[in-house]
Amino acid sequence: MDADCGFPACPGTGGGAPPGREPCRAAIDLIPLVAAGLASRFETERVHRHVLECPSCAARLDEATRLVAAIMQDASELACPAPGAAASAAARLAERMRRNFAAAARRRRRKRLALGLVPVVLTYLSALATLVVRASGKPVWVLAAGLFYLASSLVVAPVLLTMSRPTAGNEE
């Protein structure tokens, strides 16, 4: 191996290295990253200097470069949709978002309606309780029914206030 290439001589698999020349493990380890354009400038220069002197590493670099080029080619061909495909996808997406928004708004309305029924039911129950208690004629029960009515209104009021706030966004 050339003394200037910057890699320590590495004993190991002979691979395609010519007789008398030891393969360079450090260069071999860097080759995929150099081919992928992910090595630093320093590492890339070291590998390029090395392959000038080492035919088997030059072949490895060439092979790795071709593999990366094939991947990039595959990527560019896959990412080449029929004309107008993106626009029609956007149109369908807009329609789905609109439908989702409408469905979410419907669900919110239903929930609000259900919660709105709560005070009506509670009022009805307390009125019924008051009638029953009046019929029995005990003032303590009349007071209890009144308190129950007041308490139920206090519980329901904040719920109604929360529900009446406008909700933003179209997310589910």
Binding site: G15, G16, P32, R60, R66, A79, C80, A86
Partner: protein
């Protein structure tokens, strides 16, 4: 230069979420092709369902953006959702090896005789797809995001949630492994494939490796 682009994108995203049709179209135009490529090569999505998964990706990304802390990077959020969807599908339905939809390529420009731009042969593409499918998940994910989504290393790291150095090393191992897997693909495909692919890059790479190349071992 980067920041204004991201600001512009944040504006587009906000408008799209508020129902602006043009903003939505601009976002879809920007990511549609790369998202398809990522979903197909990740290996869990069939060609005939890729459109639906692209739609699902956009819907989820736009709907759940509030849950994403790094909102300035819509792109990484979008790819994270795409990768998660593909991974879930892959777990549910097993791996899917897909070539390319020929009808979708009807209008690919003719690159002529420039060897650097020659389109891949069908067999080469299938061998590459099959080899990618056999990579460990973390390596395939890093490779697909780097080359098919063309994300810079920094953004791949954001999507997969690990340091850039880890992503780099995953891509490194992925390329080494791919090289070995491609040789196996060609060997197992037999002489017909070998003959048909003989003029192409991957065919040559596989043959030369069998003749004595050794990196990646």
């Amino acid at each position: 230069m980067r920041e204004p682009v991201e600001n512009k994108e944040a504006t587009l995203v906000a408008l799209a979420r508020a129902g602006d049709r043009q903003a939505l179209e601009a976002l879809v135009e920007r990511y549609y092709a790369a998202l398809r490529a990522v979903l197909v090569r990740y290996g869990g999505v069939r060609q005939d369902e890729v459109e639906d998964v692209v739609q699902e990706t956009f819907l989820r990304a736009l709907a759940a953006l509030d849950r994403y802390q790094d909102r300035g990077h819509f792109r990484t959020w979008l790819y994270r959702i795409a990768v998660n969807l593909a991974r879930d599908k892959r777990k549910r339905e097993g791996r899917v090896v897909t070539g390319v939809d020929v009808s979708a390529l009807a209008d690919v420009p003719d690159f002529g005789s420039d060897p650097a731009l020659t389109t891949l042969g069908r067999l080469e593409r299938e061998a590459l797809a099959a080899a990618l499918n056999r990579l460990p998940e973390s390596q395939r994910e890093a490779l697909v995001l780097r080359f098919y989504a063309e994300l810079p290393l920094e953004d791949v790291a954001r999507v997969v949630g690990c340091p850039e150095g880890t992503v780099k090393s995953r891509i490194h191992y992925a390329l080494r492994k791919l090289r070995g897997l491609l040789a196996v693909e060609y060997r197992s495909a037999g002489s017909a494939v070998e003959g048909a692919a003989s003029g192409h890059a991957l065919g040559r790479a596989a043959r030369e490796r069998e003749e004595g190349g050794s990196y990646g071992r």
